[in-house]
Subunit: 453 residues, 2 copies
Amino acid sequence: MHTKILLDEEHLPKRWYNILADLPTPLDPPLHPGTGKPVTPEDLSPIFPMELIRQEMSPQKMIDIPEEVRDILRIWRPAPLYRAHRLEARLKTPARIYYKYEGVSPAGSHKPNTAVAQAYYNMKAGVERLATETGAGQWGSALAFATKVFGLECTIYMVRSSYAQKPYRKSMMHVWGAECIPSPSTKTKAGTAVLEHDRDTPGSLGIAISEAVEDAATHANTNYSLGSVLNHVCLHQTVIGLEAMEQMAQVEEYPDVVIGCVGGGSNFAGIAFPFAGDKLKGSHKETEIIAVEPTACPTLTRGLYTYDYGDVAGLTPLLKMFTLGHDFVPPSIHAGGLRYHGASPIVSKLVQEGTMTATSCYQTEVFEAAQTFAQTEGFIVAPETSHAVRVAIDKALECKKTGEEKTILFNCSGHGDFDMSAYDAYYAGKLEDYEYPEQLIRESLARIPKIPT
Amino acid sequence: MHTKILLDEEHLPKRWYNILADLPTPLDPPLHPGTGKPVTPEDLSPIFPMELIRQEMSPQKMIDIPEEVRDILRIWRPAPLYRAHRLEARLKTPARIYYKYEGVSPAGSHKPNTAVAQAYYNMKAGVERLATETGAGQWGSALAFATKVFGLECTIYMVRSSYAQKPYRKSMMHVWGAECIPSPSTKTKAGTAVLEHDRDTPGSLGIAISEAVEDAATHANTNYSLGSVLNHVCLHQTVIGLEAMEQMAQVEEYPDVVIGCVGGGSNFAGIAFPFAGDKLKGSHKETEIIAVEPTACPTLTRGLYTYDYGDVAGLTPLLKMFTLGHDFVPPSIHAGGLRYHGASPIVSKLVQEGTMTATSCYQTEVFEAAQTFAQTEGFIVAPETSHAVRVAIDKALECKKTGEEKTILFNCSGHGDFDMSAYDAYYAGKLEDYEYPEQLIRESLARIPKIPT
């Protein structure tokens, strides 16, 4: 009876799985924010290297992972797959619960899976510096690590409130040689404009994106890098699901339920796309694939499926996705990585068409699940990850009622070492269970730009 | 060319290696603090379960690991062994550097290896609560995890200055259901006495030990638990070296140099004892086995090999060991886990007799090494661990000069996720390179009690 299922590094996937090739109808194209016309590769070339642009739009089903990238991924990949024996026993469920543990990476989450690939392709293209934004710091620290490995410089605009509240993610970025700037800053026009309007703004991910994009667009040899949402980011994360599928096959299992938390959608895409691909191709049609988001930022469950900007300032292309409106400001919950108004266009389409479903959880029930997990499986996980844990537990408890022996797989996307203040707040009874008022969501949705289709 | 060498969980050791069986002459016995006579098992029985007392004094070479303990160790064990290809390339050394990574445990260090075993034996003995002390919190969080797994309660006396400076280790203990009390406290006579004398004392490990021992001795169904120094603790840590030996054999290697940092000595013992055992038995006699300590607390390099107390108050048995004097207060360096006046009696004896050697490092050179490691191998390690990294790098640089292709193995005992403020201090230039003045050490050594032998 295995506790963890390991793969030798020879089993690290050699190719990423591109679900675009298996979609029954093509994805609606991103539109240029100025013209409203589909963006061309050339439109994106000032801020992305051509190889990533190619991947963003590729019809090719399997895409080779460069050996130099695999060489770095091998530091922590293949990641272990766990059978949650002790959690199952605690729940007294007939269900079998498995989780893929991505907390073993140097930065402590799934984020380096794409950071390494992005840093590599930029290095190959002769780029010398990457600019990016980060909220709570998971993505910023991952890109700091990856750029250092490939000898690039890195500038990270970190949402000011997080910069103050979570200083140790910034410290990690420093250890890996990156520059971390509280956003909004006076380094960019976008940041300066915001500061002139409100000196004391706590900042937001939307503002930080605007700053990083402007930095990349206005500096030589500097590109922009995004940690979620885009197709190529989801593509790089599919190593998670590809490995999990092989690991489950080793113990002769295939999941009935696949679960991941969703902010921009990349860790969820990572574990879910290979299984969703099976579904799209007609096998394992009954697999339930569940995206979990916070009730405080209910993009997939209460948003609109339409074209919208990726940032507040409207500098990014318009993406067809579920959105709460590009100027929607979610309340300051502890799962900072899930506070995004939009979601991956591919995830959005698959939810819209029913291949996947979405649900939402309150903060307190999420931390309660995380405590149960820590006290049985040992690992203290990130608040974001705890959303997936909550739904995995709920599904297992359903099985307890029905007697079904379902196989449940969830993505345990990161550890909570830098989130202990959130656990403190939970124990102190200070977490608010925020549910966004209907009226505010309606108003925010009404501000989404009208695009002629 | 492997990056990491994994073992399947079937290869988790079934038995611990007890080096006591291979010592050429027996260890000098611990002495009763009241009578000065060798302690008997009965003397220890008020605070330890009989099985651990038996292991403390056992002549048996291999001791079975209970299946219930192995079942929990499997959460993170066997731990990966890494070949540090990128570090080697950075150093341009002909040496081959390997490291055993213990940061993968739920608490982030090697400490759970013994915490799980200790909690298990206490549970089997019908004990309901464990009391312990912790400095920076590594040990306290490990025991909190282990006691929760076996359904025991846990009370942890945490050195007051650390309690304030490193609040997130305390948060981890809470998640795992333990009670964490700043020490000195008014819960014990020992603590109360210290507070009456000095309300504003920052506390010390010596005081916290006194409190935990008193707690255990004065409460029904409560035992005491220690995270280092003692023979049974070192015994439980030998899984590290036993696994490493098997992993190195897989790639047809045997180390020329084995390195670990030393506070009480348990992680060092863990990696070193199996190799020291080979040496004692006459094979691989040339293996260099190096204990690394901070210059600020130079127990093995500048202390005396003699009987001394394990705590300030003199409540513990007298141990024959290297000591700086039981009331020695090391300066407040960031490697809190290495701030102990004594060391494992077995490690002390092996250093005294030349099977192992000891060296010391300054703080700044240690953090410089940790940065090099993080920027090549990815992992940001604990300040304690960084001492081992420093000497591994120095040995590799020696090989660069001499052209020798030595095989270097070090124990990468824990991650630095809860130590980022130490890295901040390093980058801010605030770390002092403390070397303890000869006069102060002489004075402290003069206060060691005279024991008739």
